[in-house]
Amino acid sequence: MSSATLYSVSFALVHDVLFALGRAVGGPVGAALRNSGLITGLALLVFAGILLIASLLNTIVLIWYERKLLGRFMDRRGAMHVGYAGLLQNFADGLKLFRKNTVRPREADGLGFYFGPTAYVVTSIVIFGVLPISSGWNAGALPLTLLLALTIFSFAPLFIFVSAWSSNNKYSLMGGLRSAAQMIAYEVPLLLAVVAVVVVAGSFDLTTIVYEQQNYWFWGPLVVALIVFVAAMLAEMERIPFDLPEAEAELVEGWNTEYGGMLFAFFMLADYLRALVGSILVVLLFLGGWTLPTWVPSAATSFPLAGILWFMVKTYIVFGLFVWVRASLPRVRTDQLLRVGWNRMIPLALLSVFLAAALVTVRCVPVFGCVPSLGG
């Protein structure tokens, strides 16, 4: 599968099926079925469907994973009675929220109230279109996938603020403001940390970045960038210790205070989609993507879908780290958060860029790669 992209696979699938159908039907209908435009369209649909289902399923499993993990951190069991070990818990939650009435407050702005969460979840899903999950498992060979992914990723504060403002609640508004301030503040170090990776890898294409890590993973030489990236990503994902916009203790539920039913499900879904994207980006940029260190026996990578498997394992381990942080650290305050963002994170990120540039300049990257990284 490594030679084909996900789109080419779905294209071939649709192509074969439609041609077989067309031949079987014959006549003008059959000819119409073999129309290339129809094939392209259907292939896109299949592709999008696979992406959608894969990302949604992964998100739901991710929520379950977090709940179970958090449970163990807290000396309890977590969801366990719905399905085996609570695996169906989130399906129950989703179905229930689907059936719930959605109440729009009378004073809320109708357009923004519905548009915000919908756009938030849609943009969060779209990111998966450009993320390579294994070699070739993405929308295709776009040269700027990393930039595209981060661009879509940074739409979120806009939609959060729209939904917060339009729900006409003081807590929502404060949550939305905090969210916007925080996301914008941490956008800069996030991008600067990415720049460090880009400088070393020499490409904006995520697939290329992963292939650049065939010999050594980037977390060794770019450890400063990794720290900045993870911290900024925690802030972007609005997880503890940076979950101020949803700070339950002071702002009831933050910017989704007024949302219930399916719109609330959208918010939860989008939050975890973004968490998934964050973990995936960490894996892609610093942990070698779907590749394994060279000392691993080749049997571990030779079976079908091995790339995807190792990729998911890495992603879930990274997300487990986020959960660990969530289980053990308190929340920071807005001013502290912003001060850390502007005063600490950006200099650190600039330092990491400088380091990366220095590394590339003196061409000593492999030396660094050998010492601390697993991917020697």
Binding site: R77, G83, A85, A92, D93, R99, G260, F264
Partner: protein, 198 residues
């Protein structure tokens, strides 16, 4: 006076409703302990499909299954029972096992657990919160104060029973009820939802 007479040796008899005493269960089985209950439910739904009883019969069990397994109670504490309510979410009882996760915003809740004394001063706020919860929604009157005013029902400021303000689905007696009793109330509510005809 007031001395302790020698307690007799304690023998736990077999108990009606307590279920068999479970020996130490291995990890894999205890996680599946309730999953086994879903098999009959799935069978029922399939039977309905086979018998072509109509969409209604098929979809309702699915949604009722979803509804009863993800009850989000409103996160608020009125009085004593709120402490036991919190204890039920603590490590020892862990109500989240049943998918019960407290939410702070009434918009996201489908269960209001009235855990304490309701005074007339808070009554209209309680009604507002109830009305802010989207349908379908349920109310559990936890403890005697919510059920009927409890020890304070003669007082001038206490509502003698929250059922005077909002419709109550489950009453849990106790002053305050143990966390187990609260979980028992939630399980009873799940039974109610299972048999619900929308």
């Amino acid at each position: 006076m007031g001395r302790l007479s020698a307690p007799e040796p304690i023998v736990l008899p077999a108990r009606a409703g307590a279920g068999p005493t479970v020996p130490a269960v291995p990890f894999v089985e205890i996680e599946a302990v309730r999953a086994k209950e879903f098999v009959p439910a799935a069978k029922e739904a399939l039977t309905a499909l086979v018998a072509e009883q109509g969409q209604d019969k098929l979809i309702r069990p699915v949604f009722n299954w979803a509804g009863r397994n993800s009850l989000f109670p409103l996160h608020w504490g009125l009085a004593c029972c709120a402490i036991e309510f919190a204890a039920a979410f603590g490590a020892r009882w862990d109500a989240e096992r049943f998918g019960v996760v407290p939410r702070s915003s009434p918009r996201q809740c489908d269960l209001m657990i009235v855990n304490g004394t309701v005074t007339w001063k808070v009554a209209h706020k309680l009604i507002t919160l109830y009305e802010q919860m989207p349908e379908p929604k349920w109310v559990i009157a936890m403890g005697n104060c919510a059920t009927g005013g409890g020890p304070f029902r003669t007082a001038y400021s206490v509502v003698p029973g929250v059922d005077k303000l909002v419709p109550v689905d489950i009453y849990i007696a106790g002053c305050p009820p143990r966390p187990e009793a609260m979980l028992d109330g939630i399980l009873q509510l799940e039974r109610l939802i299972r048999d619900r005809k929308e």
